[in-house]
Amino acid sequence: MADYTLKIRRFNPESGDAAYWQDFGIDLPPERSVLDGILQAKDREDASIGIRCSCRAAICGSCGVRINGKSRLACNTRIGEAAAEAAASNGGAVVVEPMGNMPVLKDLIVDMDAVHWKKVQRVVPWLLPEGPPPDREYLVPAEAMIDVTQSMACIHCGVCVSACLSLEVDPDFIGPAALAKAYRFVGDPRDGATEERLADLAEDPHGIYDCTHCFACIEVCPKDVAPMSQIMRLRRRATDDFEIKDRNNGYGHEQAFTTLIEKYGTLHEAQLLPRSFGDGSLLKSQISPHGLKNLIPAAPTAIRGLVSGKVSPRKALTHPKLPDQNQVRRIFKQIESKDERLELNLYIVGEAGEGEPEEQVGKEGVE
């Protein structure tokens, strides 16, 4: 009797058959990996199971798959833990299938070139220094190098690409991994094209404002790259530092959002859209040509909302402030009075919840 069962999704494009599931019995201690399980199945039963793998140590990024529906590396997922997760369903079998959002080539192998690498190429993934290099090294702050090292830690395994909900809806979205790669240049003081890069990614309808802030990529990333955090930093640099007013209204939306929260404490949804078209101002959205151009096509949606009763005229016109609205304003003031933006970076501050509190609150000057 085997210790575990792996239920592997098989697909051989040469057979003409549809994909199917196949079970393999695995004898391994619980601390070994799902990859070790797959390799055991290959070694003992069927060497035709297709999976890319190499380092076995979560360094090479080859073995991204979905295990029990969750995107991750097979080599750093313990088989015992995966089986415990699966105990509630599938009769306890650990389900292994190829990553999502990418075409399957064979069994657990997907076409990363067609999706991931194409998107990486899209972000101009090489340093664009200004002028010839110095005689010695570039002099740059130590923190800046450690900061971009979080993005450099990306192993291009595609696990975040597989888990990305925005990509599922918009396959043209540049995506979490490629945008994290973009931050590696935007955050690098040696790069001379920061504003051009940010404008490019802000103006692209599938760029930094296409992310819906769902945290899926942060949750699945095996290297703590936190791709969504890198996307948010790209946004802050585009809006705060360069005031790039993009045609996707990303800038306006952020202004509208913060203006409303500062004013009311909670989101006044009826004002969010109009204010977004006016860079945060309700008035500007109704008099500027840009605001009007965007506002008029949105009118039918607003009317539908009123007709269906989703929005009432009273709700649309009035929105109560929080009783303690002054407290919210105080938070705004406190944050805005700081010289530097506070940003979290695992390489600088270590992991949350550890001792040494004085080292917990690291900060990173963006400039």
């Binding site: 051989n12 494009p13 040469e14 290959k42 070694d43 003992r44 069927d46 060497a47 035709s48 297709g50 890319r52 793998c53 190499s54 380092c55 076995r56 140590a57 979560a58 360094i59 090479c60 080859s62 750093n76 080539l105 064979k106 990363m112 070139d113 990486v120 993934p125 090489w126 340093l127 220094p129 290099p133 010695r136 090294e137 570039y138 002099l139 740059v140 702050p141 130590a142 190098m145 450690i146 090292t149 450099m152 830690a153 192993i155 291009h156 590696r184 240049f185 690098d188 040696r190 790069d191 290297k223 695992l346 390489y347 600088i348 270590g350 992991e351 550890e354 001792g355 040494e356 080292e359």
Partner: protein, 560 residues
């Protein structure tokens, strides 16, 4: 037939650096790799890259450390070149965008490493290899004149009638088609052969393909007996804990709580060269002072926690994910494990092998800069300096040559040979069984301590496995991503690597660097201050010798 002025096989650091250097010279460059380039094993080089960049440091000091580390088997002319060119190479990488660690003044920061008389190891956290590999790949994406063939498996090197390199036969892994590439020059950059051993720190792809392909066409392999066991690997899985940990101050203890390096290397302690530390650990384990799982302990908790997170983050993950140990809180059990082959295809200081038009660089090559024992953080340097030199030299050499027209007969032969392997039915053992037997045999008889009897046993086993490999039966009969047939071909490559290693280890009847013969425990400069070469001449391997080049450092007793 794809044609390139320079064809690079392998896309780790050596291959990518060679391709970029060749591209700077102009002409058409092809780079072939059996995995996507960023999957290459150069990723695993955690600790850093050595360079005497500081005004207080000198290339001579770096070179002497390297010569001493090599146990005087390294060729001093090659070592001088590597150490002289190291600072420029480091700055080139920095200018291309590698995110090297800085000190508080914004200059490049450095850490201490084993066997070095000064702190001269430059690094990116503990992902130095990965960071450099990814930055070089950024440059490859930028260069239009470099054609990338990703997931192509090279099966044979092709010569013209005069024995000059003319190209290579490769299999497109994605669809199984075979292709003959024509090239004026070919650079092998296929990496090491760690998979010959089980366990190993090396990735599954490190199967010595290039070493074996060069060996098959008669190129001599040099220093193959010099196989490095890294002092800090996880028992069982063999995963690596970087030497950077000891560079940051981590200490070694036996099961009795003694910091045993005091006995073996009272001056350098944990930062003696790797052969010395590995031998010390293995002695403690063999004499019963190890833990029950055949290990000793590495205590990283002496390093400040903030520093661990900043500089050793990757091994925090490795400890947590693969050993269930929080290295910031408790010691981790480690042992010596297969890590690196100092030997490889014999080349000159431009990477040229004995076959006209064939170059080799990186771990598959033997220049020889590492001799009997490689210093930590010299391997990245080797791949980059000699990758660049091979790329430049190959591109320049090709300028006076016409494009060769290799015979398609070789392509047909290879297609037929591989089709036969795929079609083979029968009762042969499985590829995985043979690979496992090879690995455990090598780890048992050809590891930290060796003797004639054990090595003879290993040779017998390797030769039997060589025959058995001809009869393995495959499960996968398809064309698309047939990894089964690739594994069968890799097994043959590995067995040839193993044969060369064992033959050389039997031949060297002394102890030097990584080769410790319990039946010949002393270094013997009178008889063995020379390289051992193995080459196939006709069908049987033959041993020959070549001189060690000495420039300014006479061999002396080695103490740390």
């Amino acid at each position: 037939m794809p044609q390139h002025d320079v064809l690079v096989i392998g896309a780790g650091l050596a291959g990518q650096r060679a391709a970029l250097a060749a591209a700077e010279e102009g002409g058409s460059i092809g780079i072939l790799s059996k995995v996507h380039p960023v999957r290459s094993h150069s990723n695993a080089a955690q600790g850093g890259i050595n360079a005497a960049l500081d005004a207080e440091d000198s290339w001579e000091s770096h070179a002497f450390d390297t010569v001493k580390g090599s146990d005087y088997l390294g060729d001093q002319d090659a070592i001088e070149i590597m150490c002289r060119e190291a600072p420029d190479e480091l700055l080139t990488l920095e200018h291309l965008g590698v995110t090297f660690h800085r000190d508080e003044t914004g200059h490049l920061g450095k850490r201490a490493f084993g066997g070095a008389s000064a702190a001269r190891t430059y690094y990116v956290a503990d992902i130095t290899g990965q960071a450099i590999l990814h930055v070089l790949y950024e440059q490859l994406m930028k260069h239009d004149e470099v054609y990338r063939y990703e997931e192509w498996f090279t099966t044979a090197l092709v010569q013209d009638e005069d024995g000059r390199m003319a190209g290579a036969v490769t299999r497109n892994i994605r669809d199984g088609s075979m292709e003959l590439f024509a090239a004026k020059t070919v650079i092998l950059a296929t990496g090491g052969n760690g998979q010959v051993y089980t366990p190993t720190t090396n990735a599954l792809i490190c199967t010595g393909d290039g070493i074996a392909m060069a060996y098959r066409i008669g190129a001599p392999l040099m220093d193959m007996e010099m196989v490095q066991y890294h002092p800090t690997t996880l028992a069982g899985l063999g995963l690596l804990i970087t030497e950077g940990a000891r560079g940051e101050g981590a200490q070694l203890y036996n099961a009795e709580g003694d910091r045993f390096m005091e006995k073996y290397a009272p001056n350098k302690m944990e930062l003696a060269s790797r052969d010395v530390v590995s031998r010390a650990e293995q002695t403690e384990i063999n004499e019963g002072r190890g833990f029950e799982d055949g290990t000793v302990a590495l205590d990283i908790t002496v390093v400040p926690r903030k520093r661990i997170h900043e500089a050793l983050r990757e091994i925090v993950n490795v400890g947590r994910d693969f050993a269930g140990v929080d290295i910031t809180n408790e010691p981790i059990h480690i042992k010596p494990g297969n890590h690196y082959v100092m030997g490889g295809v014999k080349t000159d200081t431009n990477g040229l092998t004995s076959i006209p038009g064939l170059y080799a660089a990186g771990e598959c090559a033997c220049v020889s800069v590492h001799g009997g024992n490689r210093l930590g953080a010299n391997s990245l340097l080797d791949t980059l300096v000699f990758g660049r030199r091979a790329g430049e030299h190959a591109a320049r050499a090709g300028k006076s040559l016409g494009m060769p027209d290799p015979s398609t007969a070789v392509l047909r032969d290879e297609e037929e040979r591989i089709a036969k392997v795929v079609a083979r039915e029968g009762s042969g053992r499985r590829v995985a069984e043979l690979r496992a037997e090879l690995g455990s045999t090598m780890d048992k008889y050809c590891a930290v301590f060796r003797d004639e009897d054990g090595l003879r046993t290993a040779l017998e086993t390797v030769r039997r496995l060589k025959e058995e490999a001809e009869t393995v039966a495959l499960d996968d009969k398809g064309s698309i991503f047939n990894q089964d047939v690739l594994a069968a071909l890799e097994l043959q490559f590995m067995i040839e690597n193993a044969e060369a290693i064992v033959l050389s280890a039997i031949e060297r009847r002394e102890s030097r660097g990584a080769q410790y013969r319990t039946d010949f425990p002393e270094r013997n400069d009178d008889d063995w201050l020379k390289h051992i070469n193995v080459a196939v001449n006709g069908s049987e391997p033959e041993i020959s010798y070549s001189e060690v080049t000495l420039t300014q450092w006479e061999p002396e007793e080695r103490k740390y």
